[in-house]
């Protein structure tokens, strides 16, 4: 069992052009554990991706207050790779392309990074696991011999993120807008992959704009984020309500004085 706690998290980022610092997260509180699927919904520019990158440890996100704990231990001082080996995973919105490294080689290295020298995965076990997951995700075997994400379409990149999720089997996965740019068929396949991981040893935090994804991956808890804070928590019905009424409706209902990014467009 694993538990992720975000406590009163404040995060600032520095704008490279203006050299000014801007506070993006203004006190986020969130607790989740394995066996649970959480969704964070919220309008554009509200800090959802900042939260996921900060949990993973990307540089440039400065925690000015609060803490992030994994199984009761603060991870703020841990490098990215150590957070990953302790069980965190982030399916990224914009995965990097790494030419010269094949997808298969990358997956094997990532799996073995979690194992000690004497217990590296055997080639046979690796290939069997790979085949199983490729067919689950309706991916061609040739994808594994291509260089990591190089020249992949948007949809292929998303599927590849889920393939990594299935191969690495993290304890807690954050899926950052895994639905963006996917057609309905691809969305179903990706959801099938995530659902296959559901169980007592796996938890996920799904970040999305739209309720649609949550029809396929039904969350236990939905959090709504606005202006750097979680403003409402609820069950799956909250997502449906948002779909019907929009974020503006919820904002006004809660009496919040928050400009939504799209207001001024």
């Amino acid at each position: 069992m694993a538990k992720l706690e975000v406590r009163d998290l404040h995060v600032s980022v520095k704008d490279e052009e203006s050299k000014s610092t801007k506070e993006i997260l203004k006190g986020v509180n969130l607790t989740m554990q394995t066996g649970e699927i959480h969704a964070i919904m919220g309008p554009n520019g509200t800090g959802k991706s900042t939260l996921s990158e900060t949990i993973m440890g990307k540089s440039g996100y400065h925690v000015t207050q609060g803490d992030i704990l994994l199984d009761g231990q603060s991870i703020l001082d841990m490098p990215v790779d150590e957070r990953a080996r302790r069980g965190l995973f982030l399916a990224m919105q914009y995965p990097a392309e790494v030419p010269g490294v094949t997808n298969a080689e990358f997956l094997r290295v990532a799996i073995n990074a979690r194992r000690d020298q004497d217990h590296q995965i055997s080639v046979m076990d690796f290939l069997q696991k790979l085949d199983r997951n490729l067919s689950l995700l309706d991916m061609k075997e040739s994808m594994t011999e291509r260089y990591l994400n190089e020249g992949f379409s948007g949809g292929e990149k998303k599927r590849n993120e889920i393939l990594q999720l299935l191969m690495i089997e993290p304890k807690i996965a954050i899926l950052d807008e895994i639905d963006s740019g996917l057609d309905i068929d691809a969305l179903k396949v990706v959801s099938k992959g995530v659902n296959s991981m559901r169980g007592k040893d796996f938890g996920a935090l799904i970040i999305t704009h739209y309720q649609r994804l949550l029809n396929y991956i039904v969350p236990d808890t939905v959090h709504v984020m606005m202006d750097g804070r979680i403003v409402k928590n609820g069950g799956p019905e909250l997502a449906k309500k948002l779909e019907a009424e929009g974020y503006t409706g919820l904002r006004d209902e809660l009496g919040l004085d928050i400009p939504l990014v799209d207001d001024d467009q």
């Binding site: 993973m56 540089s59 790779d81 990097a96 010269g100």
Partner: protein, 413 residues
């Protein structure tokens, strides 16, 4: 050493008059010529032309595992090739043996691609040349297996090495050559290594080089191909020396329809200084010259890549393209990648790309977010960075060997 002494040594070595003639002229040129200048790289105070001596030193015993053609210092210690090659007229032999056996061929081809008068380094080389070999592939002959040259600088003894390799690829012939340079011992010596390739019309030469000379040498190399009508020469050079090195790779596209692909990988470490000119000159019509260089700079070292693409007036319909990319792995390292395009014709295509910078942080973040430790992630990114050039190296063994050296250098060993 004066000219008279040099002459005596040449004569005592039974060198024909034609070779002495070249040596003598080169000797006289040393004082009149200058070191070549290199953009953004200074090496003028290196001891490249100080050991002015010509002597014939017997090799010390060693436990080297010789491959096909192995030269330890000045001596051929192994010479085994498929019998079939011999029967069909392929010649691979010691430079001085070749001058002795066939001075006509040697006079025709030797010192024609790289001339003694070009610089102090070339003059010095020809005056004091003390080691080398020639390769002659007869016309229409296709060598299926690669020809391996194992050249070893013997730094257990005191004395510089001026090594000359001459390749004559006959009309419509094809061959793959691998030149592997290494060194033994720790004496401070110079290495002046020259390769001349003459690619006769329609021939195809793949020339791979793997340089891994130890830290006590100072190296200058000059590898140049003269590429005639419809011929193709592909350079794939891995500069993995641990010592200061200044070098030129050159392709002269003289014949119409000729092609050159000039691939170079350089990896530097410690306090090493390395400057490389990679030059392709389009002279013939419809010629194609591609330069692709990748460098990885570690520790406090310096690596300068100049890509020089020149299209001469009259080279209609030619193409020149170059990529020069350098990864800087430490804050104390210094690197530069300079594309230099000199175009004197209108109906041509020329392009260039250059980059100098650290490992892409986005790639590093991505790999590390999957649990891969920083060092390993760096190796993967670098492997990918070198990939486009590594993929052009024909031998899988050489590729793997280069990756192993690279990883050793990254670990700062």
């Amino acid at each position: 050493m004066n000219e008279q002494e040099l002459k005596q040594i040449s004569q005592a070595h039974n060198e024909p008059a034609a070779l002495w003639d070249i040596r003598q002229k080169a000797f006289q040129l040393i004082a009149k010529t200058k070191l070549p200048t290199m953009q953004r790289f200074s090496y003028q105070d290196w001891p490249l032309t100080t050991e002015n001596d010509l002597s014939w030193l017997p090799p010390k015993p060693s436990n080297i595992q010789p491959t096909q053609f192995t030269l330890l210092g000045q001596m051929v210690i192994n010479h085994t090739f498929p019998e079939e090659w011999q029967a069909k007229g392929v010649r691979v032999m010691d430079m001085f043996q070749a001058w002795h056996d066939d001075p006509t061929t040697m006079t025709k081809y030797f010192a024609k691609v790289i001339k003694p008068s070009e610089s102090k380094l070339t003059a010095f080389h020809y005056a004091y040349m003390n080691s080398g070999l020639i390769i002659k592939v007869p016309r229409n002959m296709e060598l299926k297996a690669p020809l391996e040259l194992n050249l070893i600088q013997d730094n257990r003894i005191d004395g510089g090495l001026n090594s000359h390799v001459l390749v004559i690829a006959g009309q419509n012939s094809s061959c793959s050559i691998l030149q592997h340079w290494s060194s033994l011992g720790k004496q401070v010596n110079t290495l002046n290594s020259m390769v001349e390739v003459i690619a006769e019309p329609g021939s195809h030469v793949n020339f791979s080089a793997l340089d891994e000379i130890g830290v006590s040498s100072t190296v200058t190399f000059n590898r140049r191909a003269l590429i005639k009508r419809d011929a193709e020469v592909n350079w794939a050079v891995g500069m993995m020396n641990d010592c200061n090195t200044v070098g030129d790779i050159d392709a002269e596209l003289v014949g119409d329809g000729s092609q050159a692909h000039s691939n170079m990988i350089g990896v530097t470490g410690h306090q090493q200084h390395v400057g490389i000119n990679n030059r392709v000159t389009n002279r013939g019509k419809h010629t194609l010259g591609l330069i692709n260089q990748r460098g990885v700079i570690n520790d406090q070292s310096e690596l300068i890549f100049n890509g020089i693409g020149q299209i001469i007036h009259g080279a209609h319909g030619s193409q020149a393209d170059q990529q020069n990319r350098v990864l800087v792995m430490s804050e104390q390292a210094r690197g530069d990648a300079n594309p230099i395009l000199l175009i004197d014709e209108n109906d041509v295509e020329a392009g260039h790309a250059a980059s100098v910078g650290p490992v892409d942080p986005h790639q590093m973040y991505y790999l590390m977010s999957r649990g891969i430790p920083r060092k390993l992630a760096e190796q993967m990114v670098i492997r990918g960075f070198l990939g486009p050039v590594l993929d052009n190296i024909p031998s899988a063994n050489v590729r793997q060997h280069m990756i192993n050296i690279l990883e050793r250098k990254l670990k700062n060993e």
